[in-house]
Amino acid sequence: MTMNHQGRPTRAGEAGPPMPHQTFTGNKALDMEEPLIFEIGHMDNCGVDLDEPMDFVPRLGNHMRSEPVELPALSEPETMRHYVRMSRNNYAIDSGLYPLGSCTMKHNPRLNEKMARLPGFADIHPLQPISTVPGAFELISELADWLMELTGTNAVAMSPKAGAHGEQCGMMSIKHAIAAKGEERSIVLVPESAHGTNPATAALVGYKVVSIPAREDGTVAVEAVIEKIEAHAGQVAALMLTNPNTCGLFEPEVIEIANAIHEAGGYFYCDGANFNAIVGKAKPGDLGIDAMHINLHKTFSTPHGGGGPGSGPVVLSDRLAPYAPLPFIRKNGDELEVVETTDQLKDGEQPFGRMTAFFGQMGMYVRALSYMQSHGSDGLKQASEDAVLNANYVRVGLQDLMTLPFGVKPCMHEVLFDDSFLNDTGVSTLDFAKAMIDEGYHPMTMYFPLVVSGAMLIEPTESESRASLDLFVATMRDLVMSAKAGEKDRFEGAPFLAPRRRLDETAAARKPILKWVAPEPTKVEPELA
């Protein structure tokens, strides 16, 4: 046995038998069980040093709290450990490939974080005098210029807080524009393959949704749109179409579709969630869109943060521009004029209202502009090309084993498989995805879009190296072969190695427990006491 200077054995030695026992703590080395703050916190402690409040006669009228706030505290080191331990139970882009289709889980540059934290951006108030924040409006205006240039439009409403909020903004503009013409229309056309936010938004804005079926090849046929327009003559307010669509395909008839909806007096809302495929390759404005949101948290790399925040600016055609919501920036030559209220409006400006208090997601604007400036026009185009290249590389790596619902052909930045390759294997789509977790991968988007059976939508993004893609493809091939070889044990009940086994979602929904409640003190039976 080799010894180091202190005499401690340094060789690993023979692997013994597997561990015979559960650990006392429930921990597995680096994999820690962490209780809730309510179970470990203190009611009489505090992790922030605060001044002793001055003696005072409150001016709170009779509004004082009668009961103290029931919330525990942790000291600073305890807080740090609690959240660091919890964080280690999360999968993240920084730790692995995150092929979640439609979500564009690309690298989040830390320069962006640093820039957003400059006091001149992070420590300014939306209602401090406009004269004291010229740099803020300069930044918003420059980002707007980039967005308009990249999309080939002349107007953009910056304030929406996420993609769905952008959809709402676009659809409210459309409704307002139609009303301004003295018309009323009640229907919005939405393809079956659309993301759930599209129909939800149309309904929220007071429209009835009419669905358009997908064609055999996964795209929307102009004839199908015309058929619905004619069936609801004079009633169609808009079409909401995602392009590139949720099957990972560019809609080849998009221009004809745009013309058809325009001829019928309606508007073309484009869901721009998949803009990452075509930045620098085509301008949506040239395709005839009237409104399109851009998820800055997808295409322009602002972090997803475990579910937000996002930012969803909406570019608008000239026909919709007058109806853009407050606030907006009016450019008079080089001067930027901030328009916040209706008394500042000029001829023709007829905003439909306001989407949110203040100016929208400034913190996200800084990050997105930092990303754009870093890439430049050449880098942005390269990023889209690499995103599409990577998706197609994954496609050819898997298409002989997995099934492409629309036949073998190029895709955009994401590739859609269906689950027919699992037929007769006894392995369900969900089991298959969960087995990916054991291999160290976040599963792809599952069961979306709804137009194919057991959809598996893989979006590798441009951030993956070739070696990373090769390993991913090899892993997927191994899993598929295993499923086809009848090795069901690898799938049923997976994941086996994650911090948690499969969680009971049915029970969670049937009897919702949505907050921590102190357990009843266990009663001591009198005769036992």
Binding site: T132, G135, V205, K281, G306, P325, T341, Q373, I437, S463
Partner: protein, 449 residues
């Protein structure tokens, strides 16, 4: 380009593997007429140093709140956020994760959401809270829509103490919904409006902000009683969540939905966003609630775990029948809220609230000692409204020229004119010192002289 791992050799090999001659073959579905060669009008790539230089130059043109006596509130507040918070939310595992749709590998996010929901519910005095809205203003609009669903009525009554921009957001959404109406009361700086008279059998909800936009504290109990008599819901709104450390909770006063801005805890000003909307309600309404919710369950080995639940309300399942279209919410901002709140605890929050209240009381005393200045509110938390003899916009600009950011002229948001034009909403928090307050009083004296 530093963010792109593929080399030109990789690209060539990969194209060959795919079986195409050029990258453009993969873009063949884009109609030829619209295919772009180059984006000649935009600048080309920049190094990290160049970007930093350019953006810093823009940032440096702005006057940051920490650089001078600062009293601007009206919906967003300057507070001290412990360094721990910003460090933890930048952990890769939190920052670069997505919505926890695969709970087995996102227990970190889910457990934090469960803690967040519990904190929000306990603070507001409600039974349940959701996993966040975009911000207070959009959350308020969602609360109104939820009340319409619950009551099957469509008339919202809005107090004149509601933040004017919150009112505009509610009006905007309502205006596009068939049959929905909004009765908005005129500006009410002192909390003396007769909102009870507005509530009738048609009313779906009454929306009342306390502390109001003007800082006035409002007694919600009689409003809740009258609303409930007419089968309407009381929606209680707040923009300053720190106030809940000292004030009776809206839940204890009978609110049915409590919605507000959570920015003050954990989140920097950042010029208005991203922020975090807090949304809480009663258990019986949860199936009408908008947004994501995290719930407790067990895994196949019986261990406790957390999942997103009640998703049959949501757009990805219910599509046009969903309770809301929200998808991405304010995840990371809610995490910042939870971490800061964990550091504070109930006791720390109460103390922070007392410091804030004292800061405002001291400022009110200093300002009302200035000739011609009147403090309008009888009861307030860390914010109040003053009337000055001069136009408020001009006063604020003149103060800024003297190096004091003295608050928000109400006329910036409310153009109804008259007395409004002379009102300033002023906030004072734990960051303001005696020197700050003295500087403000002195500057105001000079401006009004």
């Amino acid at each position: 380009m530093r963010y792109l791992p593929l080399s030109d050799n990789d690209r060539a090999d990969m194209l060959a593997r795919i079986g195409v001659d050029s990258i453009d073959e993969l873009f063949a579905d884009i109609p030829e007429a619209v295919r772009l060669e180059e984006l000649t009008t935009l600048p080309r790539r920049k190094t990290e140093m160049q970007v930093e230089r350019q953006l810093s130059a823009m940032a440096n043109k702005n006057v940051s709140a920490g650089s001078l006596p600062f009293f601007v509130g009206a919906g967003a507040y300057k507070h001290h956020v412990p360094a721990t918070v910003d460090h933890l939310i930048q952990r890769s595992e939190f920052l670069t994760s997505y919505t926890p749709y695969q709970p087995e590998i996102t227990q970190g996010t889910l457990q934090a959401l469960f803690e967040f929901q519990t904190q929000v519910a306990n603070l507001t005095g409600m039974e349940v809270a959701n996993a966040s809205m975009y911000d207070g203003s959009t959350g308020t609009a969602e609360a109104v829509l939820m009340a319409h669903r619950v009551t099957r009525k469509k008339k919202a009554v809005l107090s004149g103490g509601l933040h004017p921009q919150y009112r505009e957001v509610v009006e905007g959404v309502s205006a596009k919904l068939p049959g929905a109406s909004v009765a908005a009361l005129p500006a009410d700086p002192t909390g003396t409006e007769d909102i009870l008279a507005q509530i009738d059998d048609e009313t779906s909800c009454v929306v009342v902000q306390s502390p109001s936009f003007y800082g006035q504290l409002i007694d919600l109990k009689p409003i809740a009683e009258k609303a409930h008599k007419h089968k309407a819901l009381l929606i209680a709104v707040f923009t300053e969540v720190v106030s809940l450390g000292l004030l009776e909770s809206p839940g204890a006063q009978g609110a049915d939905i409590v919605v507000g801005e959570g920015q003050s805890i954990g989140n920097p000003l950042t010029f208005g966003g991203p922020y975090v909307g807090l949304f809480a309600t009663r258990q019986k309404y949860i199936r009408n609630m908008p947004g994501r919710v995290c719930g407790e369950t067990t895994d196949a080995e019986g261990k406790r775990g957390f999942v997103l639940t009640l998703s049959t309300r949501e757009q990805h399942i219910r599509r046009d029948k969903a309770t809301s279209n929200i998808c991405t919410n304010s995840g990371l901002c809610s995490l910042a809220f939870t971490i800061h709140m964990t550091l504070l605890g109930g006791k720390g929050l109460a103390r922070l609230a007392r410091i804030n209240h004292m800061s405002a009381v001291a400022l009110a005393d200093a300002l009302s000692a200035v000739d011609g200045v009147e403090v309008l509110n009888s009861a307030y938390f860390n914010e109040f409204t003053i009337r000055t003899p001069k136009n408020a916009h001009d006063v604020i600009e003149a103060l800024a020229a003297k190096g004091v950011l003295g608050g928000v002229p109400v006329c910036r948001l409310d153009k109804s004119g008259g007395d409004i034009d002379n009102l300033i909403v002023v906030a004072s928090t734990e960051v303001n010192t005696d020197e700050d307050r003295a500087a403000y009083a002195q500057a105001l004296k000079e401006v009004l002289a």
